[in-house]
Assembly symmetry: none
Homo-oligomer: 222 residues x 4
DNA sequence: CATGAATGAGGGTTCATTCAT
DNA sequence: TATGAATGAACCCTCATTCAT
């Protein structure tokens, strides 16, 4: 091997590329901006990337992979639902969602840039991809709820999943822009309550009226 | 000396600018593309706009104004709400929303371009502006609902308005991408039901249980 | 029409392009060299040429056309040959060739650059094209000579035309490099004599021996 | 620390450099092309050559030396000429020339590249150098011929040598482009005949007419 | 006002050369 | 000596903007 490759150069370059692309978008980003930020020569850029566009694609894909994986993990709903364990189930979902929003919060700088400054259609497409992934997750959760008798049977699941995912989408966009970290648990409980009460089957609906036995549920949802 | 003063040049230029900017974004759009589309000389561009960026801002503002005005009109909720006229009130809201979605449907090509191809942060910002406007509308409606006793009093209105607006936002994005015009009325009724049942006060909640008097409401919301 | 196009700009650019390309070759020539020589802005180059390579092709083609046309005209051999008018015929050919070499002499700067400094394969190819054109001309002349009984019948015309054209080719290369204008007529007479005596038919050969009648021919060829 | 000292690296590099330079010319050849072909590191190039241009000069000189040496050997005319041994003498020359053309034929790929693809002025110069060397050889042969009475005395030797060398030059260029190996002997005999008959002294000229004694010469030259 | 030729700054990319290992 | 990653000067081309007509 020749001159030892600066092991930190490649990651520095990637990081710099992401930062510059996310800040300025593909067209406004200058290769020289990226190499300067990475403290690397201009020519060095082309040791790591085929072209500016290729670097851009690389960055976008890396973001998709990182965020997507996390999101998938956070939203996967295993565990059975039944009217009996409703309160626990929802608390479980809420805590999973809290974990996801914690992740979003930690990544908020990057995400905010994607949302506000990602001046490129590639990032828009990426956003849409996440949104659709979230929607499919929501649809699965709704179907599970119908199957277990929690939800009514007579609504259009796809449509409802669009609403639900849209609500989460906007909530996420809202959250990453906040200055102070909000109380994710209460946020997400209100969300769950809207969905649950909005779609609840008669049986579950009753629990909101009944005095004693459902205290717990009512408490957790209010 | 060139073509005699051409009164149609300015609107043609604006139209062309919008088309090109929306298709390619600020950076990729070339002044010459715009003037070619407007059948105007390149120099003429600078008789009408300060610079390319100025033209872009102009276009963005024009879109905001046009769409925003329509939207405002469509969503403005005048008229009193009370438990008594609940069914009518909601039908009224649904029909207003249907009108808005009809407008979106008619403008779907332009909107789709803004969403998918609007390769510039300015358009993203514009989208966000609409989204926030919608959220504020939703918040007002929720507050009116609380005031009239339709909704519970113990939820975070701002948060709920985020959910609601997010749901509409995604629905709108979904709709403009459809091939076939969907049934807006049923779409928007499901939406209303989600919100109403999700946030309904005890009094209204009862109406879903009560046998006779609320038939109408139940029917319209299911 | 807009700003009046500088009518002299295009020819200046062409001239400059030829000068620079011929001096440095395609690869070493810089667009800026050309535009500087033409006293034109760098961008202006691309108003007249698609690309540097396109400009190069243009220049090459222009040279081919100019020189080729002249050459064709100069070498075309009309007029009948017969043993009777041999001396006149050859004087006629010689004077045509003298005219061609006068042209070469006048263009010697450009040609010399093509030969010595034309650092590009395109110019080599161009040279070959001229060479082949010359060879075909030679072949035609030889065939005419055979038909009229001046030349023998038993030699390979193509081969002989290669020799003859090669001889002229080198002579031309030699001439354009000279400092002083040489005596083209005697040069080209020696050439003709070589060819004539080299290929002469027995009948013509005799004329070189016979005392009186052929004095003229012998005189002109020696 | 890299590969242990590799004795074959230097010749491989030279060979690769020649191949790449001959194929692409100085400007289009990339150092990396050469080192890749030589299976040597890029840095290694600069252990063997001062610079790309130096390598180029080296290659050009090597070609000149190799080919020049061969050519010199092939064309050197030792042995006396006299009218008595004319036929043998010419057969001797022809066979030497055949040997040279055999060499050209064997090297035709390289030569063709030099002629057609040698995209650099250095190679053109090299070609001219060969041509001039050939011309000087021809001049020497002509002088020897004059001295021995074979040729006339009253022509411009330098001029004639230009013709003769030019003819050979073009013949050589023609030959290396052929698909099939031609009959060099007959080619070169026609060439000799042209020159001999073109310049022959009266004494030799007679041999073409005389019946018996010169049969051999006439036969060999026709 | 209208035109479109002219301008020139700017940036992506290549590649000869250097140098730390 | 051999390596190949790193460097940065150089150069083609684009395109927003200007300006003479």
């Amino acid at each position: 091997m020749g001159r030892a490759s600066d092991a930190t150069a490649a990651p520095r370059l990637l990081e710099a590329a992401e930062a510059i692309f996310v800040e300025h978008g593909l067209d406004r980003a200058r290769v020289e901006d990226i190499t300067a930020l990475a403290r690397v020569s201009k020519g060095s850029f082309y040791l790591h990337f085929e072209s500016k566009e290729a670097a851009f694609r690389h960055v976008v894909e890396a973001i998709v992979t990182t965020m997507g994986t996390y999101m998938e993990a956070a939203l996967s709903s295993e565990g059975d639902v039944s009217i009996g364990n409703l309160a626990e189930y929802f608390e479980g979902r809420v805590s999973k969602e809290v974990a996801l929003f914690e992740f979003l919060w930690d990544s908020r700088r990057r995400i905010r840039l994607l949302l506000e400054g990602g001046k490129s259609s590639a990032f828009l497409h990426l956003m849409d991809e996440f949104a659709d992934r979230a929607r499919r997750n929501a649809a699965k959760a709704l179907e599970a709820g119908i199957a277990s008798g929690i939800y009514q049977k007579d609504f259009d699941v796809e449509l409802a999943s669009i609403y639900v995912a849209g609500a989460y989408d906007r909530l996420a966009r809202h959250v990453v822009r906040l200055e102070e970290k909000p109380d994710f648990a209460s946020m997400l409980r209100l969300m769950q309550r809207l969905v649950l009460r909005g779609l609840a089957s008669e049986d579950v609906q009753c629990m909101f009226e009944a005095p004693a036995s459902t205290r717990q549920l009512r408490a957790s949802l209010l």
